[in-house]
């Protein structure tokens, strides 16, 4: 910890502080930094001023400076807050609920899974996995083509699975390991979401849960789980096992160790992961498009809806996007110190 000292680089590798640069060098460095800042921040600036423009001011040639190039107007803001009114507030509220609930659930379940994978060695038998897939296919075929009652088919499939898996596993001992499970998890994200969108739609339709926040929460949680597991696994493996062994001798149970020792130590990683997942859920468009129509509509859908029959309504979109990104920016600023630490922790373990 504190006894470990970073070796001071010498000679040509010595890092120079900005303060020790020559005036010309300093000008160059700050000039470059300033230039890049403008590049990064300009789209945000453009977004904000567009939300105050009249449709006529959005047209070519571009107008850059409020009050000089064009007269700012509040018409877009009045439209989204007064004319749309509830139609803005409801999606906003939906987005808040869906993103935060799915994030909390994904981080909770995902970090527990990641902790399990980082501390316990699992040996799923290849025989069991193949048997499961085979019987799943057979059961589905029985239901679809031979019109067997789904309850009977399901139960029979499950019963045969447990019998066959046990018998096979005794003969065929080859098994997979934790890294395979981890890869399988992340492989779920390799699939383009649009491939899964239709089956998910059908599933929620059958369950009668279309256009509900619940459907979106469950979907986002599932979709983001692999990311949480993958990221948190790395953080957990970086935490020395001694601490947990010590706690277990002190009398702590596995759950107590996880919640009182491991999670607090993984806090930077946890916050960085949660923020990433929150942003993914907050901005998600495709699945929301399939799963929501009116009641459960989220902000990305509302923004996209401004590109209607009258063509893209840039001014309304800009105003909506400004209120949409505000909480994310606020949250990022609030948790900034953890994120910097989290990023470092992921890079250099220990």
């Amino acid at each position: 910890m504190s006894t470990r000292r970073r070796a001071r680089p010498s000679g040509i590798f010595r890092a120079r502080r900005l303060g020790s640069l020559s005036p010309a060098g300093a000008c160059l460095v700050y000039g470059l930094l300033g230039f890049w800042t403008v590049i990064v921040l300009f789209p945000l600036y453009w977004l904000v001023i567009t939300s105050f423009k009249l449709p006529i001011d959005v047209a070519y040639p571009p107008k850059y400076l409020p009050f000089l190039d064009f007269q700012p107007s509040l018409h877009a803001w009045r439209y989204i807050f007064v004319d749309l009114g509830n139609d803005t507030r409801r999606p906003y509220f939906n987005s808040l609920i869906v993103a935060s609930c799915s994030t909390v659930l994904a981080v909770l379940a995902g970090s527990m899974a990641a902790y399990g994978l980082s501390r316990i060695e699992y040996k799923p038998r290849i025989a069991s996995i193949l048997t499961f897939i085979l019987l799943l296919a057979l059961t589905s075929a029985a239901i679809m083509f031979f019109h067997v009652d789904w309850r009977i088919a399901g139960l029979a499939g499950l019963a045969i699975f447990f019998l066959a898996a046990r018998a096979l596993a005794r003969r065929w001992r080859a098994h997979l390991g934790n890294s395979d499970i981890l890869f399988w998890m992340i492989s779920q994200r390799i699939l383009p979401p649009v491939v899964a969108a239709l089956p998910i739609y059908v599933m929620f339709q059958q369950l009668g849960l279309l256009d509900t926040r619940f459907a979106l929460i469950v979907t986002y949680m599932t979709v983001n789980l692999p990311i949480v597991v993958w990221l948190m696994y790395d953080f957990f493996t970086g935490i020395p096992k001694d601490l947990e062994e010590s706690a277990s001798l002190d009398g702590a149970s596995r759950y107590r160790i996880f919640f009182q020792i491991v999670l607090p130590l993984a806090k930077p990683g946890l916050i960085a992961t949660a923020l990433l997942v929150l942003i993914l859920a907050w901005n998600e468009y495709l699945l929301a498009l399939f799963l929501s129509t009116a009641r459960a509509q989220t902000m990305p859908i509302l923004v996209a809806a401004q590109n209607g029959t009258r063509g893209p309504q840039w001014w309304y979109m800009s105003a909506l996007i400004v209120i949409m990104i505000a909480p994310v920016v606020a949250l990022t600023v609030a948790t900034q110190k953890y994120i910097a630490k989290g990023l470092l922790l992921g890079a250099v373990k220990g």
Binding site: M1, T3, E245, S246, G251, A252
Partner: protein, 360 residues
Amino acid sequence: MTVELEAISKSFGAVTVLHELSLTVAPAEFLVLLGPSGCGKTTALRMTAGLESVTSGRILINGEDVTEVAPKNRDLAMVFQSYALYPHMTVAQNIGYPLVIRKLPRAEIERQVRETAAQVQLDALLERYPRQLSGGQRQRVALARAIVRRPAAFLMDEPLSNLDAKLRGHMRAELKHMQHALAITTIYVTHDQIEAMTLAHRVAVLNKGRTQQIDTPQRIYDDPANIFVAGFVGSPPMNFIAGDMAESRFRGPDASLPIALPETRNRVELGFRPEDCRVVAPDSPDCLVGSIYSTELIGDHVLVTCRIAGQGAGTLPGASIVVKAEKTFDREIGTRVGIRVPAERTYLFDRESGERLRAS
């Protein structure tokens, strides 16, 4: 409380790292597991703690079989080499954690934490975090956390090896005093024979997963069971020369010496401790002859390393013999000297098995 290990073994796949270790630690006894790295001593300790499963054998604490009991229910406290302090808790929270788990009332926890902290001189540091402490202070927090709840036994895994030499000596004395004052059964793992000799009531010497000898430090030193124990314990280590014995004499390529054992036997090792032999004139009778290779002044004595001139052969370099001499010893390197080895202070070992050969 009594801790008993009954023939415990540990295998990882085909590799057996611990072979049937059996020992009984009496109440309030300080037992040290001593051995080189990889000898299985830490594995034995972790098995006692419940952190490693037991391949075969039984572990009993106070007569109760705990072989399959989870670590948290064994009522043991362990001090780790890395201290394993919880970095996100203050010193007071670290020390009090075992009590918090046991759901003691707040006031009671506070009282016990203060009391324990005072015992290890940490009272002024209770609000600090581990990262703000020195190595010695962290060590004391780990100790305090172990003693705060008066466990059935202490387990210590090389607790002093991360400290610098001076602090180690100091903490050694503290540990010994504390263990005496608390009278709690202690199993202590170390590879440092000085720690083993100074702290232990009894020492169990392990090598390659097998028990070599379990005895008091004095007897481990004076009466080693085999060549491994003889060579491992003692600093500088025991001298060994190879040869055969016949007619109460030991004859090797390097030397011919009278010995106490009247047996006839080939292929033996003769061992003697540096402090038992003396540098004498090279023409004295019945002594090893060689020349001084180096001399080191240690403070209250001088270590003289001699090379024995091989009898006859001459081409092979002879054995190195270390003699502990008076601090006034001042002969030049290269001087021819004799080394007197008193016959009653020698040990004989079978070269193949390493077992000690005793007068029957």
